[in-house]
Symmetry: C2
Subunit: 323 residues, 2 copies
């Protein structure tokens, strides 16, 4: 494959998608030129996807394109930032037109929904590795950070964590499910819905937030570490999808998925008690829903309580490396 | 290698380098938070390096770290933007501490010289692929673009293009040289010096600019295409290093290297005749030097003139794919 074929690929990516007024210069020069409105901070995040590590072999190209953008949108959501611009670094062994068409379709469909403009890219020949950088905007000082949780704050999670971990087991052929449940759980793995609306709603309400791409226990752990606090979690309060409940009838079977499954791209956030009503009002307006699952405590560490009120003892690694 | 080893790598990268006042939040949250001053535009560029394609197998890790940052700084230079922030996406097959130490040393040494703060990153296990995004700042409307060249403008180039192409032949064992010349030419290939100072000096003077990473003929071609003009180049005016002149004693041998060698990361820019004195004053202050090598013409296409004034006929591909 010649260099000019790669140039064709680049042009293919640059003729699609939304055009934003804050892009002074898009693809086609040495740099893109972007305008950040006065009083706004720029939120940036870069994520890399490698086949077999970040999505199963054989994943549809459109799902890979969707996910490459969704993981970055999820980072913006966790900061309460409004999505704006993306740049794409795509290393590919060959110019596979069918794969590229699918990848671009998946990426641009999601980009259009969130009004993200692809403003730059670099397409090179090499192993298949996808890096995508997202840029978002948030009023100065209003971003949701990991370090703001305080003793007594309530802990919430959006959606139904655990679905993606279960979807991965289905994708790898490690378990079966009905067609309806399999479709739902694979979609939760392959086409995560970034909780951008939730992040925007929670500005001024949440004291800390994170997306739970690594699993709820590990990611809540990041909030605790950065905030210098601990937490108690009520296992009985973990929210589950109907599909997960059907496949895992026993409550204790579900905990590892909800706490350690990873790849869910839900938000975990904390709310001071005085803002509880505002948080629940904001949550009620979201189609993903959210649930109070515990409380921040001064004592460091994450303590998990069974439905009967007893403490669940864990190995030092807990659920962090599950899945 | 476990996930936690990769986390160690990330922490290793986050404890070094300059701390800028315009970084509200650096590495360690879902996003970095950055402040763009009022009246400034954000210039962004993403570049990917793959071993064997963008640097020869066996290149020192410190040189790879230098080059990963230098190619992005060169894009900022070509826009006349001042470097500010970088994010790194690093896919590695294993946590090779020696390689990582060298890579980080090379990257941070250059980052400190240009006051670039590494504000985010993603380190994953996979094939060795390095993507780096650079963010710079430029006053609104002052960026040097590719589309501003006009009939009659003078064409300049910084430094001595062709060195990196010759350095690549040395690196691949395709030719020999004295130790002094080999060291110089390998350094030109492995540790390109981004022309950031030149780009800043040329704001308000140059009508168009580009960095010549793909080779002078191809990259000047991008200016011509975007500006809707053509050009004549005087081959006798091409500037050469002493090392290149020693290895290539005949003038006609040198042209393909200077025009198509690639990887030089010099700037090619155009200047309206009325600003010629200002351009040459700006150039005189730069240690890289710059040379007037031709003139923009209304007629499309790039025409190369021999020292005797005759036109050099070229194949349709010209020097674009040389090297």
């Amino acid at each position: 494959m010649s260099l000019s074929e790669f140039n064709l690929i680049e042009r293919y990516f640059t003729t699609r998608g939304v055009r934003r007024a804050d892009v002074a210069l898009g693809v086609g020069d040495d740099c893109a030129l972007l305008r950040v409105p006065e009083g706004m901070e720029l939120a940036v995040s870069i994520d890399t996807l490698v086949e077999g590590h970040h999505y199963p072999l054989g994943t549809a190209a459109a799902a890979v394109g969707h996910k490459a953008l969704a993981v970055g949108l999820s980072d913006l959501a966790a900061m309460g930032a409004e999505p704006a611009w993306a740049t794409l670094a795509l290393s590919l062994p060959e110019a596979d037109e069918v794969w590229l068409q699918g990848f671009a379709d998946g990426l641009f469909a999601l980009a259009e929904r969130f009004r993200v403009q692809l403003v730059g890219g670099d397409t090179v020949r090499g192993p298949r590795v996808i890096s995508l950088q997202l840029h978002g905007l948030v009023p100065q000082g209003a971003a949701l950070r990991r370090d703001g949780a305080r003793d007594g704050d309530l802990i919430y999670v959006t959606g139904t964590p655990g679905d993606a971990g279960l979807g991965l087991e289905l994708a790898l052929g490690q378990r079966g499910a009905s067609a309806v449940d399999a479709d739902y759980l694979r979609a939760r793995l392959d086409r995560p819905e970034p909780r951008v609306a939730a992040g925007l709603q929670l500005r001024g309400i949440a004291s800390a937030a994170i997306d739970i791409s690594d699993g709820l226990a590990a990611d809540l752990g990041h909030i605790l570490a950065r905030s210098g606090v601990g937490a108690r979690l009520e296992l009985a309060q973990l929210p589950y999808s109907a599909a997960l409940q059907r496949l895992l009838p026993e409550a204790a079977e579900r905990w590892p998925y909800a706490l350690g499954g990873g790849d869910d791209y839900e938000l975990c956030f904390t709310v001071p008690p005085a803002r509880r009503a505002a948080a629940e009002q904001a949550c009620a307006a979201l189609d993903c829903g959210c649930r109070c699952i515990g409380r921040i405590e001064a004592k460091s560490g994450l303590r998990l309580y069974r439905p009967d009120g007893t403490l669940l003892e864990r190995s030092p690694h807990g659920f962090d490396h599950f899945g």
